[in-house]
Amino acid sequence: MISTMKVVVMAAALLFFAPLMCVSQGQQAQTEMQAVQLIGLGGVKQNTKGQLTVINGTLRFIHAKGNVDVAATSIEDVVTGKDSQRVIDGTFGTVASIAAPYGSGSALGLFRKKVDILTIQYRDADGGLHGAIFTMPSGRAEMLKKELIAQGAHTTIPMQADSNKTTPAPKEQKQ
């Protein structure tokens, strides 16, 4: 009898606490990264350093004087520096510029800052258009963009992996 009671209590506990555990695991999965807000966020000075994270469907910029939240669903466009480079220079241009920045080879590598750019455009409650630009360590912008899109943000330039995906042509049936 006691053992049956124990089993019931444990089952009930699991039933109640399992969703909480899932939520906490989900929050842990959120990435937080160092970023600099160059321009655009309301109430934040230009070139403000802080942490950028996507949490509970919002893009949160945490800086010394407070937090700024932008709902992912209000973001009309999220674009990384590589995206715009790809659109303007084309894939070949991007590869060439990485191999020989500014036509100079690796001699100027010291001057080239290893940063990624993330640009967002979003609407406020009155429908007013805002734009914000962030810089962050190289390779992070794509990750953040992916997270934002998963939370409901829109983009005019699809992710590189997605755009490279091509539907395989149906094989001709051998007769």
Binding site: L38, I39, G40, D77, V79, G81, D83, S84, Q85, V87, I88, P101, Y102, S104, L108, F111, R112, I117, T119, Q121, R123, D124, D126, G127, G128, L129, H130, G131, A132, I133
Partner: protein
């Protein structure tokens, strides 16, 4: 001795008049400013020329920032702001990219003479009825020091100066 003092005073007055009169005349010749208490800044258009999104956003935000700082207009509305429709004597500013040279910060650092970033935008100010009030091509550039985006700040400052010369939120001078 007294005569010398009189001569000096006369010279001083005539010199003063020589410099002040042209300035006063120039001020009289200035065209009357158009009265406008509010402005709506539309998103930067770059249909013919491909402009990186970060430049587009930086141009738009710097423009709004400068308009708010210089207080040429009592209210500054963003693209799509529903409250703009209720504003009296509203002016709309639409900027279109006509020329863009991305340049290179690295080249500027190394050579100090090459790698300038420049962009020219056609700025069109229109009234509520859509009548054109002012059209001007404005160029923003960064020549020697600073990141590429600094050209957008230079453009915004010049565009707001153009607005300041032609519009006023107080009663127009006749």
């Amino acid at each position: 001795m007294r005569l010398n003092f009189r001569n000096a005073a006369a010279c001083f007055v005539s010199l003063g008049l020589f410099f002040v009169v042209p300035i006063l005349r120039a001020q009289e010749r200035q065209p009357a400013k158009t009265r406008a208490s509010a402005i709506q800044v539309m998103n930067i258009r770059s249909d013919a020329i491909k402009l990186p999104t970060e430049f587009q956003v930086s141009l738009y935000e710097n423009l709004i920032d400068q308009l708010e700082k210089r207080a040429v207009f009592q209210r500054v509305y963003r693209d799509g702001d529903r409250n703009a429709s209720t504003a009296a004597d509203l002016v709309t500013l639409q900027c279109t990219v006509v020329k863009f040279n991305k340049g290179s910060e690295t080249m500027r650092q190394v050579t100090t003479v090459a790698g300038a970033t420049s962009m020219t935008l056609r700025c069109q100010f229109t009234d509520k009825a859509g009548n054109s009030l002012l059209v001007r091509d404005i160029t923003g550039k960064v020549r020697f020091f600073g990141g590429n985006l600094k050209a957008t700040y230079d453009f915004a400052k010049k565009a707001v100066s153009a607005a300041e010369e032609n519009f006023s939120s107080v009663a127009a001078r006749s």
